[in-house]
């Protein structure tokens, strides 16, 4: 009886490093399959010494695979545990390993997309971009380091979690914690998206509306000719108390809209885009259309 084969921490770290290249050979046939095999190679080399076993393991892991590139980490962890068992003689057939992979990739992708693509990246991106827009180098630094620290820690700890939990993790799949994370992320995501729409979608109408004639007493009456000290004091006092300097108050369309709530037109535009996207209009078409609209609006002098 030979000693039990185990994957050392160094082996698992090699797999972790390689798992970052998961999507490198993303293809239309089996998607992340080759990247997946590439990530597992250090483990395969360690666990199987005979050439035919290595070949069998490689072929087994070149089957179709596709999920969110980060949540692949716990699946890799579980697969490492299964392969370790198999290499030690436990009867685990290829279909079982493939079954675990397929069974996990769907629900986990459903967590990865809202958490990473729709919550963490937009928030970090918006934070970095708002600093960067004024030329502040801290903006890109926050985005780059913030993102990569979160990402690399997530990849390592969830891979370790998967490895230690083994196939137990599949049972916890529908568990409460994951549901909470997804729901919390979508709440925070929706909140922040609304913030971004309000702050960054800019529509400014340059149309002037007819001015409003103010009633007497709402504007400062300037005396003819030279102004004496006490008169000036009175005028300044009136102005400071909020009286208008002109008899006619200028009104702009934008001012009127802003008095409802600032950013209203941007919100309506966002709803329009959502509706168009649901009607299967391509985002690129909408973007080009909006640039065209902007040029026409500028030519007509309304924006």
């Amino acid at each position: 009886m030979t000693e039990k084969l185990t994957l050392s921490k160094a082996d698992r770290q090699k797999v972790w490093w390689r798992s970052q290249f998961l999507q490198g050979s993303w293809n239309y046939e089996r998607m992340q399959n080759l990247g997946w095999a590439y990530a597992l190679i250090p483990a395969i080399k360690k666990l199987y010494t005979k050439k035919e076993d290595q070949a069998a393991a490689l072929e087994r892991h070149l089957e179709f695979f596709n999920t969110h590139p980060y949540v692949a980490a716990p699946i890799i962890g579980v697969t490492l545990a299964l392969e370790e068992e198999k290499a030690n003689g436990t009867e685990i057939d290829d279909a079982a390993i493939q079954g675990v992979k397929i069974g996990m990739m769907g629900p986990l992708a459903g967590i990865g997309d809202p958490v990473f693509w729709f919550t963490v990246r937009p928030i970090l991106g918006a934070l970095g971009a708002s600093l960067a827009s004024s030329g502040n180098i801290v903006g890109p630094l926050i985005f780059f380091f913030g993102w990569n620290i979160i990402r690399m820690a997530f990849l390592w700890y969830t891979q370790e979690f998967g490895y230690k939990a083994g196939s137990e993790i599949t049972k916890d799949m529908s568990g409460g914690i994951l549901k909470d994370i997804t729901k919390g992320a979508s709440i925070l995501g929706m909140f922040i998206l609304a913030v971004l729409v309000q702050r960054w979608v800019s529509i400014n109408f340059t149309i002037d509306l007819p001015g409003k004639q103010l009633s007497e007493g709402a504007y400062v009456v300037f005396p003819e000719g030279a102004v004496t000290g006490p008169e000036l004091k009175g005028i300044l006092g009136d102005a400071l108390s909020g009286m208008s300097l002109d008899q006619v108050q200028a009104q702009t369309l934008q001012g009127q809209l802003n008095s409802l709530i600032p950013g209203l037109m941007g919100l309506l535009l966002t709803f329009l885009c959502m509706w168009l996207l649901k009607k299967k209009v391509s985002p690129i078409t909408i973007i080009i259309g909006l640039f065209a609209l902007g040029i026409v609006a500028r030519l007509l002098g309304i924006m």
Binding site: R121, P122, A126, L188, M190, T270, I295
Partner: protein
């Protein structure tokens, strides 16, 4: 203002190569405008200008993500090419940023076609890897994978090198030929197009349950005194409160009780 030196040009091509790798890997985020434009700015000695362009483009690209079958515009080519045009144009004002941003859009589409070509070529490479795996040739499997990855890098590096080869005067002439109404119109359009990215994300996330949080976010944001960090804190707090309350209200039957927290408290009395 002038042409880019050889050393800078080589560095820009290296940045472009990394942006191309990340365009498919999506890990380190070298392809995101805020990173790519900053690095290109650094390589050409226009750091601040690059950071500003990166910030502006990032706003536009916030919602661009590849989810399942949905294909998003390609951030990698858009940010690299826009940065090169921006630096060569030499106009580092907000007008220059808007023009470069507008130029980035068709490039994002072009980048999409390039990545689709590489993803198709990768099918062939996978078949090579299949054969190598049968023979137990591990090194050949690794080579097939890395070769596909390098192709993704070249997908951005080659167009970037071609753009760099254009003389700066030519780029500036084209940009100077643009009349004011066109530049102004692009600025107006640039203010609006960010809505498309947000709309894509909202469509993905929106459920009946989370719409009220959208309304809250919008109204809080209208108070211009709140900074982005402050608003983020409010958002996290609201999400945590909601999650906790919905667990407590869970046995209240039917829908979640936390839609009406005051009602819940009153019922407890």
């Amino acid at each position: 203002m002038s042409d880019i030196s050889i050393i800078s040009a080589v560095l820009v091509v290296v940045v472009a190569f990394f942006a191309g790798l990340e365009g498919i890997l999506d890990q380190f985020q070298f392809h995101q405008p805020i990173v790519a434009c900053t690095l290109i700015g650094l390589a050409t000695g226009n750091l601040t200008a690059g950071v500003m362009l990166g910030g502006a483009l990032q706003m536009l690209a916030l919602g661009w993500a590849n989810i399942g079958a949905a294909v998003a515009p390609d951030a990698a080519l858009a940010s690299v090419a826009a940065a090169i045009i921006f630096i060569k144009g030499g106009d580092f004002t907000s007008v220059g940023i808007n023009v470069a941003t507008a130029a980035a859009i068709p490039l994002a589409v072009a980048g999409l076609f390039l990545t689709m070509i590489v993803r198709t070529i990768s099918v062939g490479l996978v078949h090579t890897a299949d054969k190598a795996a049968k023979d137990g040739n591990i090194a050949a499997v690794e080579r097939a994978h890395l070769f596909a990855l390098v192709l993704q890098g070249l997908r951005i590096a080659i167009p970037a090198a071609l753009l760099l080869a254009l003389p700066a005067e030519a780029v500036q002439d084209v940009l100077n030929m643009m009349p004011e109404w066109l530049k102004g119109g692009m600025a107006v359009g640039g203010g609006m197009v960010v809505a498309v990215g947000y709309a894509m994300v909202i469509n993905m996330m929106a459920t009946r349950e989370v719409w009220p949080f959208f309304a809250l976010g919008f109204v809080f944001a209208a108070v211009s005194d709140f900074t982005l960090i402050g608003l983020g804190t409010i958002g996290v707090a609201i999400a945590l409160i909601y999650l906790n309350l919905s667990k407590k209200g869970g046995n209240g039957g039917g829908s979640v009780g936390s839609g009406d927290p005051i009602g819940d408290i009153l019922e407890d009395y």
